[in-house]
């Protein structure tokens, strides 16, 4: 059954991808990409990767699509007819694809528990992590403890992206003067938004702190919280949003998040452990792990929230500029 669903979803993905190749309407391309992302999230669920699915839905289908739409608003939605022949790319792709197919021939069978990938390192995570780290969600254990350095890097990547977008697009100026609504006439929208935004924020907090037990964690929480503010900015206008969450504050928050994470690692040094060693943070190693994971997840959440939001601010300020012009 699971295989069948998998196959159907993969087939839909293939159709979507093919459609994207031939479409010239970029708006449709972006929407299809959103669908593509969402379908892959479904596949991830089907393949037991709930955390990944959550992230993919929030990031790929959510944030990435919003950013792409924002870009389209500034650059136009039509792709121009392509004059040069696509023969060379086709050739490159066929060769690369053939190489990959060649590579699959010696691959271990799909789903087999005897595969090397499932036999060597992973069993320890599955068997020991509930005792060693003390969390039921093994993904969180691996993410935040065994491979915490990867995650620190990931946080730095988000931070770097924020730096990049800031340097390219800048942040909106805080304008005290005219606070005009983006969608003034949409009364229904405004009412519902006011109702929903607090709910979203609560949900974000839930995801943030429930990540140890179920799917979720700082990353998803940060994205969801940012989405709440993005919704606010869309409905009530960017100027108002920048008054609620000031761009300057975002810069500080984004930095602070990384610092919180790194400081947790450094704390390990001072307590006599290695960098990012949480065992030494408390007398009981498992308690130490708990403290460490909660703090760094918080750090991730803060950075991701601030980074995503400032990226959105960057794009939105450009859009406003374009409107004024």
């Amino acid at each position: 059954m699971a295989e069948l669903i998998d196959l159907v979803l993969l087939g839909m993905l293939a159709i979507t991808a093919l459609r994207i190749i031939f479409l010239k309407d970029l708006f449709a391309v972006v929407m299809l990409f959103g669908i593509y992302s969402f379908l892959s999230a479904l596949i991830f669920v089907n393949l037991d990767a709930v955390d990944v699915a959550f992230t993919e839905a929030a990031v790929g289908a959510g944030i990435a699509t919003v950013l792409m739409l924002g870009t389209l608003a500034l650059t136009g939605r039509k792709e121009k007819a392509n004059s040069h022949t696509a023969l060379l790319p086709l050739l490159v792709v066929i060769v690369t694809g053939a190489a990959l197919i060649y590579g699959t021939l010696d691959m271990p069978p799909f789903g087999d528990p005897e595969n090397p990938a499932n036999q060597h390192v992973a069993p320890r995570y599955i068997e020991e992590s509930p005792q060693e780290v003390g969390l039921p969600n093994m993904v969180t254990s691996v993410l935040a403890s065994y491979r915490a350095f990867d995650t620190l890097g990931e946080t730095a990547v988000v931070f770097a992206a924020a730096i990049g977008v800031l340097s390219l697009l800048g942040l909106p100026k805080q304008s005290q003067a005219t606070i005009e609504s983006g969608l003034k006439s949409h009364l229904v929208l405004r009412v519902v938004a006011k109702l929903i935004i607090p709910l979203i924020l609560v949900f974000a907090l839930y995801v943030q702190f429930h990540g140890d037990y179920g799917p979720g964690g700082g990353f998803q929480a940060g994205v969801i919280a940012a989405a709440a503010i993005i919704l606010y900015a869309l409905v009530f206008g960017l100027p108002l949003a920048t008054q609620v969450i000031q761009p300057k504050l975002l810069k500080i928050l984004a930095s602070m998040g990384v610092l919180i994470y790194a400081a947790t690692g450094v704390a390990g040094l001072f307590f006599g452990g290695n960098f990012l060693d949480y065992n030494v943070l408390a007398s009981d190693p498992v308690a130490g792990q708990h403290i460490g994971i909660i703090v760094i997840e918080f750090g991730i959440g803060v950075t991701v929230f601030a980074a995503i939001l400032s990226i959105f601010y960057g794009f939105a300020s450009q859009a406003e500029r374009a409107n004024i012009q």
Binding site: A99, L100, Y102, G103, T104, L105, D106, M107, P108, N115, P116, A117, N118, Q119, H120, V121, A122, R124, Y125, S145, Y146, R147, A148, F149, D150, L152, G153, E154, A156, V157, F159, A160, A161, I163, G164, L166, S167, L168, K251, I252, A254, S255, M256, V258, L259, A262, A263, G265, V266, G268, L269, G273, N274, F275, L276, D277, Y278, N279, V280
Partner: protein, 500 residues
């Protein structure tokens, strides 16, 4: 007290430094702070280099989780050497950057520049030190993202398209690496490099592993701008701010070369890659084509920065050539050239940046008569240029010497000859600039604004120039480090795995 944590500090220091830099908000403060952080990392790298020369490899388990379950930092002579180059050059470039950035980048973006620089440094250090294949990908992306930002900070609009092209190519490369790592993981169930090596050694030849390696090599080749995949590099280096070009040319591609070395020698083992898959011939041919094609293209450029960028691609050809000789001597020559090339290209790009600072142009016309107006800058350019050519008593000569000896040891007479003739093209492109600088009259002799570059730019430039001479004469440090590194890398991969 912190001595045992040194393997991780060159990464963590700039990684912490970056957000702090962002918080500092004042350009001056951020500069000072970034320079200090970078300098401190350099100091640690030197200590690491000396320690590894003395004691061999240093392993550091992050989070206290022993590998292969946790992530491991693994510093040996080879990466400590490259690490010293990267952190050292970063420090010098930061000193240099202060005034160059003032002129080339918008005032309120200065802190962003220093933050991105530190992030880039953290990423590069991470790539070098890590002992985990996926961790390498993460740090690769940190440095790449920071690099795109740094390149796009330039005021020229062409920097934007260059950065975008770099981004697309870089992401394709990173994704290829990701595919390759995935295939390796699929067959071995581990991501730790030593563990991978031990487990790959159990397979004779495996189609999945071969494909994985091929994808990693192609991905890394994009990052290191190996010949047919180099097209992103010249525009990026041309239009980036001078300080960025100086830093990237000396470090980013070199780190990628090191990654290639690491995958070939540490993980798969030279035996597997070169004898089973015959990669040496492919790399050799590409390297030689790179040397000639790009040196030749360099000779016809009118923009000096572009010229140097193409020269960089050609010089990368020399490094790959050394690797593809499949001998300890060849690998040693390649590693040595990583070190020496960072010295000379850093100095050259700094000199070009200084000219850009004063004249506002990198076109060769701006160099008319500069020999008199900016004597120290042009002297630096001359000496570093001679080093590129490979004139005796410069660092460039040393690396060429070892490269040719390595080729001759294998009875590759033709290759040795090609290496030497390749450097003749360097005479042409460096000579063109020197000739107009010293023998042409300036276009506008009355222009008094063009004078010697500021001291803060000259000092790092000349440190590199003097290093070029020093390491051209006293080669004991660089050669012995490269030699130890190549010997270390060249032992069969399975043995490395058995160390633990």
């Amino acid at each position: 007290m912190f001595a045992q944590h040194f393997p991780v500090l060159p990464i963590v220091l700039p990684l912490i430094g970056a957000p702090v830099c962002m918080l500092l908000a004042r350009s001056q403060l951020a500069w000072l702070f970034a320079t200090l952080i970078s300098g401190f990392s350099f100091f640690i790298s030197i200590v690491l280099l000396l320690t590894t020369l003395d004691q061999g490899v240093l392993s550091y388990a992050l989070g206290g989780w022993e590998p292969p379950w946790g992530i491991e930092m693994r510093v040996d002579v080879a990466n400590a050497l490259v690490l010293s180059v990267v952190t050292g050059l970063s420090t010098l470039v930061l000193v240099y950057a202060k005034q160059s950035i003032d002129k080339e980048i918008d005032r309120n973006q200065h802190t962003l520049f220093y933050t991105a620089h530190l992030l880039c440094l953290a990423g590069l250090s991470g790539i070098l030190s890590t002992g985990d294949a996926f961790n390498l990908f993460v740090f690769l992306e940190i440095s790449s993202l920071a690099t795109y930002t740094l390149v796009s900070l330039a005021s020229d609009r062409r920097a934007l398209t260059a950065a975008f092209r770099y981004l697309v190519m870089g992401t394709i490369g990173a994704t290829f690496i990701l595919i390759g790592v995935g295939m390796m993981y699929m067959k071995t169930g581990t991501l730790n490099m030593l563990d991978l090596a031990a487990r790959i050694a159990e397979y004779d030849s495996n189609r999945t592993l071969n494909t994985g390696l091929a994808f990693i090599l192609i991905g890394v080749s994009i990052k290191l701008a190996l010949f047919p995949l180099h097209m992103w590099l010249p525009p990026a280096y041309t239009h980036a701010p001078s300080a960025v070009s100086a830093f990237l040319a000396g470090t980013a591609t070199k780190v990628a070369v090191y990654v290639m070395v690491r995958f070939i020698f540490t993980i798969y083992g030279a035996e597997y890659v070169f004898h089973e898959m015959g990669m040496d011939v492919i790399l050799l041919v590409l390297a030689i084509v790179a040397i000639f094609n790009c040196s030749f293209v360099a000779t016809v450029q009118s923009n000096v920065k572009t010229m140097l960028a193409y020269s960089s691609v050609a010089q990368i050809g020399y490094m790959i050539l050394g690797i593809s000789l499949v001998t300890s001597a060849g690998l040693m020559a390649g590693l040595l050239h990583i070190f020496n090339h960072a010295l000379m290209k850093g100095a050259l790009f700094m000199a070009v940046g200084a000219v850009l600072f004063r004249t506002g142009s990198a076109d060769i016309k701006a160099y008319y008569g500069l020999g008199k107006r900016m004597p120290l800058t042009m002297a630096a350019f001359t000496i570093a240029g001679l080093s590129i050519i490979g004139v005796p008593l410069t660092a460039g000569f040393v690396s060429k010497w070892y490269l040719v000896t390595a080729a001759l040891e294998q009875q590759h007479w033709l290759i040795a000859f090609l290496i030497l003739t390749g450097s003749l093209l360097a005479i042409v492109y460096i000579g063109r600039v020197l000739e107009v600088a010293y023998f042409k009259e300036p276009a506008d002799p009355t222009d008094t604004t063009i004078k010697e570059a500021p001291v803060l730019m000259l000092i790092p430039m000349w440190i590199l120039v003097l290093a070029n001479i020093y390491f051209g004469i006293d080669t004991s440090l660089s050669v012995s480090a490269a030699d130890a590194a190549s010997k270390w890398l060249f032992q069969p991969a399975a043995d490395l795995g058995a160390v633990r």
